[in-house]
């Protein structure tokens, strides 16, 4: 794919924005197994991109490469003008600008909700404890659970835990948020409370990459939808066109299976 291909399906307004994330020919192997086979992708500033694809297609691997939880072997990933290389300073910088929310929440079970949220701002951003706590309380308010600050993660429901995890990421004031199936481990009645928080974030202008199986969310919130298959991007389009008029056969098959 060429550079212009990577920018397909962008409205004129969107195309004029800065690139927040650029992937060029990203390849990744686990041992002999190739999980990414040369991904080209551009995410614009304040864009919400939803990533779909069958299990094992490399969705997680791709977004984990973007904050260096996995190391890609070939190609180039540039986040906010900084290229991800082995230089530790670049990695530190990108990690403090890119927030990540995991399927399994990954809260720190031995710390209270408040400490979960303030830990990184205090130790990484070097904020004062007082300032960090004030921000934490604001964030908890924003995700709708201001009263849970003193509890431990184990005392919260799944939906509440995931919202704490989102608040924890936001406390670092990231420029980009990555979501890896944030609602897949939740009971159905808790999914919407997490999706609502994510919608608010998107409306607030956060740049987001969201791996999810929530088609409603993709239709409503996404600027573009990406379909991945066998380690590469098969189709990128605006949600309306993507769902009503998919181009590739593989996408059609996928949509027919899950819709």
């Amino acid at each position: 794919m060429s550079m212009s291909d990577a920018n397909i399906a962008l409205s004129a307004e969107m195309a004029a924005r800065d690139n927040m994330i650029t992937c060029r020919g990203v390849k990744k192997w686990f041992g002999d197994f190739q999980a990414l086979t040369g991904v080209d992708l551009t995410v614009k500033d304040r864009e919400v991109m939803v990533v779909l694809g069958p299990s094992g297609s490399g969705k997680s691997t791709l977004i984990r490469c973007i904050n260096r939880l996995e190391v890609h072997q070939e190609g180039q990933i540039v986040v906010d003008g900084i290229e991800l290389t082995n230089d530790l300073r670049n990695i530190d910088k990108i990690r403090s600008e890119v927030g990540m929310v995991f399927q399994q929440f990954n809260l720190f079970p031995h710390l209270t909700v408040l400490d979960n949220i303030t830990l990184a701002p205090v130790w990484v951003r070097k904020k004062s404890k007082v300032e960090a706590e004030a921000t934490a309380h604001e964030l908890l308010e924003r995700v709708g659970i201001p009263e849970q600050a003193a509890k431990y993660p184990g005392q919260l429901s799944g939906g509440q835990q995931q919202r704490v995890a989102i608040a924890r990421s936001l406390a670092m004031e990231p420029k980009v948020m990555l979501f890896d199936e944030p609602t897949s481990a939740l009971d159905p009645e808790m999914i919407s409370e997490v999706l609502d928080v994510m919608k608010d974030l998107a409306n607030g202008g956060m740049t987001m990459i969201v791996v999810t199986h929530e088609m409603g969310f993709a239709r409503e919130v996404a600027d573009r939808v990406v379909f991945m298959e066998a380690g590469n991007v098969v189709e990128i389009n605006e949600p309306e066109a993507f769902f009503t008029n998919p181009v590739s056969d593989r996408t059609k098959l996928f949509l027919s299976q899950i819709l």
Binding site: L69, F102, Q104, W123, K126, G154
Partner: protein, 619 residues
Amino acid sequence: MSEMSGPLVVPSAGAAEIAFGVEHEIAPEDPITPPGRWMRENLFSSWSNGIQTVLFAAILIGILKWLLNLVFAEESDWASVATNIRLLFAYNYPVEQFVRVWVSLGTLLAAAGLSIAAWNLDLSFTLRKLGINTATGGGVLVLVGILTPGTAPSDVRAGMFVLGAILLVIGLAVLFGVKDPHRKRIPFEALLISVAGLVVAFVWLFPLGRYEFAGDEASYASGTINISTKGPWTVMMIVLVASFLVGKALGRVLPSGALKGVMAAFWVIGPAFLIFVVLRDPAFDWGYVWAVDVPMALGFALLGGGVLYFLTKPGLGELGRIIGAVLFGVAVFNWVAAFFGLYPMLQKGRISFMLLAVFAILAPTFAGERAARLRFATGWAVLVVVMHWLITAINTPSTLEIVAPPFLGGFILSVSIAYYVMLASFPLGILLALARTSKLPIFRVMSTVYIEILRGVPLITILFFFSIMLNLFLPGGMSISELAAIFTGYSLFSAAYMAENIRGGLQAIRRGQYEASDALGLTTVQRTMFIVLPQALRVTIPNLVGQAIATFKETSLVSIVGGFELVRIANQTIPNQPDYIGQNRPALLFISLVFWAFSYSMSRASRSLEQHLGVGTGR
């Protein structure tokens, strides 16, 4: 059965109500099963179960009978223990200086009282538990009375029956006379005061008899124990209760965590102070102290503190790393220079420099706002001053005039060694465990080699090696006392086991925890200190306590390399006293009881610690 399954079928809406803090019903009383039914249900529920019960009861009674025969055998002279309590406890510590021992014990008890208050440990009892324990204790005592052989003094046997019956009646009265005994709690204050009161009443009222050495002769008089024993114990109990109450009061005034911090610091350095400053009473040469020691300590504290304050400035970047590396290089070179005798330097200078380098390397991790930087620098200053004081105290001759030189012996020696071996091997074990799980092969290999070698060698060998050989290998001008050598060897040995225990804890941590920390931008050091270790150590507590118990018991090996600890005193010193020739059995039984009581309390304490820390982790 239907009663039992009741709570399980509550509709899930009920659970949601509880979660939102809506009033809910009190759990129904867990009824006390009458002893007859309990036995039918638990011990004789089937034929095979009944046979097993009878068999095990017979074996237990047989063992108890055998033990009691040992205890009350005609040739067992228990006066050999009673007379030698002081020897077993403190070995040859001079009697006229014994106030130092009491001051040390009092300080420890005061610290214990303050700590219980500071951590708000809930050691209260339900009446039900109290009743069960009292009744069981009474029952066992009556049984022991029945099994006690005729060789025992008749008043001892009668005493067992009377006391056992009283306890049994009280226990049953509490259990069946009080309504809802499992819901009524005895507050810890009341418990503490009654236990202290019982101890005081016991030493003042119970006619244990008065045993002592007059000159070299053992002497005995009837009546209650010596005023030189019961007086101090009374004070000790008052100190314990008072310090707990003071701790409670302080907790209301001080900011939360302040008292905890002070007490934690005390438990690290306090005992060393008691040993080397209070018990050992160094004869400081004050002229030299003011001319050399004080300036040196203050110099390190202030200059080092300044450097560290600078290094914790956020965003120092490369410069900070370079300064840290240079300091580390100089610190290492100081030791190299010592080996080749290049330039003279006091040992504590080398140690301080090395410590400063470690602090400097850690500094970027602790960078932050002004208050955090000041805390870091102050922490360093306090640590260095205390360390210098200790090293100076250890290296100053003692004023004590001791018959046979080691100033520590007996129970105090065992406890001190075990305590500080655990304390020293803890950080070392953590480092080894981290190295062994590290991604860098060189760390992994070094740590694995260290651990496997030390675990493969008997402790005795290591103690021999360190007590005899270490001084031969040290470069000219350096030497190390026998006690320090034993302590070093034992700590290095223990660290290997500690490392393996902690490694188990490290493996229990899920990968998601590492990923979340990384995604938040924590550095490796921060991730390790704030996320990985706190969780790993929690999981490791039962193993660590197991190791602490083993360490405590194995201090008996110290006797082989010259230490006068409990086993040696019981097995050699006492049987060689003219009055008690050959009497080692009572003393060995007695120290077994001491070891057991200590180990058992440690394992109980560990269980409540686990529960205390387990709260809220959701696991």
